[in-house]
Amino acid sequence: MSAVTDTVRVAPATNAVSQSLRDSMVVAKRNLIRMSRIPEMIIYGLIQPIMFVVLFTYVFGGSMQIGGSTSATDYKNFLMAGIFAQTVTFATASSGAGIADDMHKGLIDRFRSLPMARGAVLTGRTLADLVQTALTLVVLAVVAVLVGWRVGSDGDTNVGKVLAAFGLLLLLGYAFTWIGALIGMSVKTPEAATSSGLIWLFPVTFISNAFVDTSNMTPWLRHVADWNPFSATVQASRELFGNPGVSPSDAWPMQHPVWASLIYSVLIIVVFRTLAVRKYRSATA
């Protein structure tokens, strides 16, 4: 038998970045078509945050004291940034489940045997999920306005700032999607991805400034809450919406919430995208 010879000199991909983008778009399109054919997924994805808006506003609203005010209007205006942020992060659980589901179907073998960019399957998925999250956020904002949420209720704002706030929220959602993607790549079944994808989100979203004033927390817990990346985005969007915030603590992220939110989100994307794509490359599912 002759020795193995490599008879072809292979030129490196001319433009890896543009190929990666193009492939990601092709996969994102696939996922968006899927979503449009399973509309109940979108509908169920909307019910829960809408319930949260209504329940928190009417059940908790009357009893909550924010910045010395006992008026329910103020709590509503305080609350919405928190609910929005929670919504964009909770969406990551279904994203992880979707990835886990994909990894256990024959289609992933097809993808992995194609000359496509390695990260495109996951990037395409997260981009499609981002579109869905944006849609959810639009619907939720309308519901929030209907129950009495008003931007500029307690400070200066303008269209640009409001859009910037939604931008930061979506960026946070996109960053968290990559955590969900890593979970989806790491678990053995889609069912496990759904539950393990949700569990960690409860402490992350509740040990924060999303629903309460952190100054009433035990000092060490308050410390955690103030440095929680989730809190930074909540605080930033509250400021940009011109909604009432609580007197922020001395913690740097609370003093510079917009910057903190940006830095945290980008950092999460870089770290978790790298880990998830590495896992994808070595996956043998």
Partner: protein
């Protein structure tokens, strides 16, 4: 010059399980190799290593002239893979599936569209092109999957158990498609546990068991190893077995084997149908009543049995390599 698919000493272990234990393959350009073996033998793992889905622990492989380990991405441009489970997105239409695959093979969107339409026509899916794959029958999904593997007309194709789970009619249809494909000069490696399928489609057959290729050759060469044809008789009365053995031994070229409970006797022969007639006359003369008699040509099942010492029974693919390692004699002698 190595063939279009060439592998040397592929080893892959999963924990304690040695799924591949030194697989060597050489498939000349334009031919079909049937990789034959029971579940858990290492067929799928071999395909996964050759199609860049899995990195072997050691060994080397060249596909379409490209080193699989060094340039996996270039290999991916030259191969088509049709897997054990139809790898299509069931929420996409047939057309959308093929367009997506085309674009991911780096075709321009328009070219992918044209190619998708061609393939849908060719694979008899034009009428169902704009329905989601979820509504397709099993046979249609397999055809779509195969079409997806052919989007760029790759010079080398891999099909992992392409007809597993299909009914006979659909299997027949798929065979026709595969035959057409290889008549166009595509090199194909096909795994199967259907011995008939390898016999039908492959030029050469490699028999795998426990992660090794234990025999290679054409279907006829492998059959010749089992010693040609046999006469099989089922006698009506158990008491007649001894008398029948005496008759068969007179005609046979070897020992007569007896399965008591089935009242079945088998003896290797040469002489074909003419000899069969003589056997029947002789049994009749002696007043031995028979339920069944036939001339049996060796099937690949027999080949497998004579090579491995066990029948090609289905073991669970994932755990099969672990289960049952004891008690199986590896018939390395038979492979020589």
């Amino acid at each position: 010059m190595p063939g279009a698919i060439y592998a040397e000493g592929l080893v892959k272990t999963f924990g304690d399980v040695r799924a591949l234990d030194g697989v060597d393959l050489d498939v000349p350009e334009g031919t079909v190799l049937g990789l034959l073996g029971p579940n858990g033998a290492g067929k799928t793992t071999t395909v996964r290593c050759l199609t860049t889905l899995l990195r072997p622990d050691s060994g080397s492989a060249v596909v379409a002239g490209i080193d699989v380990l060094r340039h996996p991405d270039a290999v991916r441009r030259s191969i088509g893979l049709s897997g054990q489970f139809a790898a299509v997105d069931e929420y996409l239409t047939g057309r959308e599936n093929l367009q997506m695959v085309g674009q991911l093979y780096q075709m321009k969107a328009r070219a992918a569209k044209v190619r998708a339409a061609e393939l849908l026509e060719q694979f008899n899916l034009a009428d169902a092109a704009d329905r989601t794959a979820k509504t397709y029958s099993g046979g249609m999904r397999r055809r779509l999957d195969l079409a997806a593997a052919l989007v760029v007309s790759p010079p080398v194709m891999f099909m992992d158990e392409p007809t597993t789970g299909l009914d006979p009619r659909n299997r027949q249809q798929l065979w026709e498609v595969i035959k057409q494909l290889v008549s166009g000069g595509t090199t194909l490696l096909l795994t199967t546990q259907y011995l008939e399928e390898a016999d039908h489609l492959a030029h050469d057959i490699a028999v795998v068991d426990h992660g090794r290729v234990i025999a290679t050759g054409t279907s006829d060469q492998l059959k010749a190893r089992t010693g040609g044809e046999r006469v099989e008789v089922v006698v009506h009365e158990r008491e007649d077995i001894q008398a029948a053995v005496a008759v068969l031994s007179g005609f046979g070229k070897g020992d007569t084997t007896v399965e008591e409970h089935m009242r079945k006797l088998t003896v290797p022969v040469t002489g074909g149908a003419k000899l069969l007639a003589e056997v029947i006359r002789e049994l009749d003369t002696r007043g031995i009543e028979i339920d069944d008699i036939g001339l049996r040509r060796p099937t690949l099942d027999d080949v497998f049995l004579s090579l491995t010492g066990h029948v090609a029974e289905a073991e669970d693919e994932e755990n099969g390599a672990q289960a049952d390692t004891q008690g199986h004699q590896r018939s390395k002698e038979a492979a020589k």
